[in-house]
């Protein structure tokens, strides 16, 4: 009986989780059909779609890891760019292939994240502030060490294999599995959640908050380095940026994160984030296919984000109000009777 209930609940949750991306896809397909345009291009369409999903998934993993711990990190974009420049140059100089370049990205990203974490721990300033300083420094470093040129691997075919469909699926799968295991089955994950839901209590019970934060920063560095890897492999180049131009890269991961937040009621948070990324990519693909302009697309996704935030912030209030209304009706009916 219990097993049956469990299976039933699992299926129900799985259905509800998938409902958001599936419903979004259905809506987009209908709109494309009405407009007489294909949802995505026959050749290369799925690859471009998968690329968008992977980019936003890794950004959202990193952003979410910080956000749910009460930290906002402006330096994620700069870390991705600097990791791209350093790892790309190492890969070219040492004759690496795509896989070894990927491993280099992980190492460099983790190291950059560790530096960011050390500064946060040393200074004990609000992470938004330290991340601004780190973003400025990483951008400047990326520009300085490449003399403003960034890195270009377009003419090194051995390094361009990372964004085929299979490699991207493998990368996304590996990222999801690692996040799932780390946050659900390791001490780090348990401690992370404890701090997330009660910092003072967690610290008072002896939890080492600083170690946890440091590991968090390293993980985030490695995750955004994947964004850098994907961008470099897909486009062949990574340009240096200055004047906090990279800080906006973080914002684009917020919509998938918020959609994931809604879906996370029915499944694991990491799976929910991936589903949120898929949903966002479906919206983006669909809007591009029907020829929606950039400003219109920006408006649509922004209003969507506001709607989701409104729902998240007020969903319980609305439910409570509806329940109260129902009780009032029942009370009125019984009085009338």
């Amino acid at each position: 009986m219990n097993d049956a209930n469990r299976v039933k609940r699992l299926l129900k949750n799985a259905g509800l989780s998938l409902a958001v991306p599936v419903a979004t896809l259905a809506l987009m397909l209908i709109i494309c059909e009405l407009k007489g345009v294909p949802f995505w291009a026959e050749q290369g369409g799925f690859r471009a779609f998968l690329y968008a999903v992977c980019m936003s998934a890794f950004s959202a993993f990193a952003l979410g890891l910080h956000l749910f711990a009460g930290r906002f990190d402006f330096s994620l974009g700069a870390t991705a760019v600097l990791a791209g420049i350093i790892s790309g140059r190492i890969a070219i100089e040492t004759g690496m292939n795509s896989f070894t370049m990927l491993l280099t990205f992980v190492g460099v990203g983790a190291a950059l994240g560790a530096v960011s974490g050390v500064l946060y721990l040393l200074f004990n300033l609000p992470p938004m502030i330290t991340s601004l300083g780190v973003a400025l420094a990483y951008e400047g470093l990326g520009y300085g060490i490449s003399s403003g040129k960034g890195v270009n691997i377009s003419l090194v075919p051995e390094l361009l294999g990372g964004t085929g469909i299979t490699p991207m699926l493998l990368l996304l799968g590996a990222g999801l599995v690692i996040m799932y295991v780390v946050l659900n089955f390791t001490r780090f994950g348990f401690n992370y959640r404890a701090i997330q839901f009660g910092q003072k209590i967690a610290v008072d019970t002896g939890l080492n908050e600083k170690t946890n934060a440091f590991v968090c920063y390293m993980m985030c560095g490695a995750l955004v380095a994947m964004v850098g890897f994907l961008r470099l492999s897909y486009n062949g180049t990574q340009t240096a940026q200055l004047s906090l131009g990279t800080s906006a890269a973080v914002f684009s991961a917020m919509l998938p994160l918020f959609i994931g937040g809604v879906v996370a009621r029915f499944c694991d948070q990491n799976i929910a984030i991936v589903l949120g990324c898929i949903t966002t990519a479906i919206i983006s693909q669909g809007l591009a296919s029907i020829g929606v302009t950039l400003q219109q697309r920006s408006l649509i996704t922004s209003f969507l984000m506001i709607a989701i935030l409104m729902y998240s912030a007020n969903g319980e209030r609305v439910k409570a109000w509806l329940a109260k209304r129902r009780l009032q009706r029942v009370a009125a009916a019984s009085v009338a009777a």
Binding site: K149, L155, G236, T237, S243
Partner: protein, 414 residues
Amino acid sequence: MFTKLSIRRALALPLALMTCLPLFAACSDDTDTPSGGDTTAPKYVIGVIPFSDTAAEQIEWNNYLNDYVAAALNVEFKFVPAPGTDSDAAVRGVEELKLAGCQGILGVVDTVAAIEKANELGMWYVRGGGLSTQENYDAVKDLPYYLGTMGPSLEDEYAAGYSAAQYFVANGSKDILVYGALLGLSIPSDMHVQRFYGIRDALIEAGAVYTEPTSGSVVLGPGIGEFATGTSGLNISTIYGLAGYEAIDPTFNERFTAAVSGKSFDTILMSAEGSQDVNTLLSGVGITGARMNEVGAFTPTAQASFEAGILQYLVGKYPSSMGPSVVALINAIDGHADVVKAADGTGSRLQGPFWNAGSLEEFNERMALDAVANPAFNKEIMENYIVRLHPDVTRETFAEFAALDYDALAKLHK
């Protein structure tokens, strides 16, 4: 008494002060101090407002200015961050250059407010690397400290796109992708628009039929329309946007993929540089072997594209093409602005042509003339048009100097 916290606090203020030390260590320019040069010549201080902090073209210009011109003509260059299209940032840049002691500004932007501020502060301003739009030029041409513009004209930009399209059509191109670059983005560029118009008109002359973009497909700027084969026998697709800049153009990949899906191309007609980026994107969808042009600059990146067989035709600026702009400023600072400005005292519009190359050999030949140690606009040639050294320089001869093309410069170097 000496806790960890008190030690950290005690160290904090000296640490903060020590971080200021690099400011003094880099007291002058933070590039290599030029050696040699004409130490009897007065020292000029010229500010530079770049169009980009990271574009290869701008980097090559900066290298030419810092590594050659600084020593050759005894000039100290000061740079500000690229302001993009932000007028306030451009005005700020002008003010900071004035405070840094600059006597003139070489701006690769033509923000009207910035030029007006330079005039107000008594700094000569020359717009290098290209010509302004008519509207921008009319707004500032009467300002006393405005020298004018120098570089390829909008007609040159149009011709660059036109000649590239003609070249490829004449050489057997059939399946063409027209890449409109900055058309239709929030940072549109008149240069890219003119180049696209050149490409468009060449294809129309070959028999293609062009339809203007409808309002629904226009993003910002003129956008890009559709081509039909007509009598040309050409299959032409179009795409606009910036690859790899998700913040500016987040849907580029989707639009690009939609534009190339199920097709094969033998030619990509570009209205900008970026042949390697586009080649990488095409390879990702299984399209290889396409021939490409670029309208950009003679840079190491372009050289690598030629060597890899990606690029077949290049029209662009070259590192020392900024030379005439520097000479214009030197003349103005020395009190001889009249040889630069138009006869009626307004800012001039001096043409400085592109170079072009239709093969790796031609590219290497061009670059050999513009070597780092002895660029096309070298000290000897430039000094011939500095009025302080050659009082016989006239407005006409200066205009001829600015318009020296590859063949003329090669002759002068012999």
